[in-house]
Symmetry: C2
Subunit: 102 residues, 2 copies
């Protein structure tokens, strides 16, 4: 369901997990250490991300190697499409305007 996608992304720590996985596949333990949350908390977040299809886990010995999956974000792109058209496809140009100097 599309709702699972938005729900999964609504949580900041889950977006942190997504960002960490941008650097490549990682075992769950590394993610626990990086987030500085309890191991069960991170495990639960990973479960939500898995059920939304945003990540998948590969078994490697006693570890679970996590990596990103593109499909749900492609769905997010499609969700965004009508809004892009609404503003004449100028969403990207606007984005640069928002990015003021540091």
């Amino acid at each position: 369901m599309e709702n699972a996608l938005f729900d999964a992304l609504a949580e900041p720590n889950r977006r942190r997990l997504m960002a960490l996985l941008l650097k490549g596949e990682r075992p769950a333990g590394d993610l626990v250490w990086a987030l500085r949350l309890s191991q069960p908390a991170v495990s639960k977040h990973l479960k939500v991300l898995r059920e939304a299809g945003l990540v998948e886990a590969r078994v490697d010995g006693q570890r679970r190697m996590y990596r990103l999956r593109p499909e749900p974000l492609a769905e997010l792109e499609r969700w965004l499409d009508p809004y892009r058209r609404f503003w004449g496809g100028k969403l990207d140009a606007l984005e640069h305007h928002l990015d003021k100097g540091s």
Copy 2:
């Protein structure tokens, strides 16, 4: 804050409101009727969307005309950007699994 954006979009009824506003400016009353929720419930959802910058209201007599605002969705595009790059900018083409080896 970026969090307000994802939080606002996480709620299905708020996404319904966004979709309705794709057809153009509308008074709050129309949105109440369309959602078939109580008037206060819709008003509260509209407040969340306003505070996230996703919509804005124009006073028209005793009505409030609501319309979409592009900036937060442009921010969403920017958030999506690293993931697009992660998959070689091919998020829209949905057919491939991902493999390692860039």
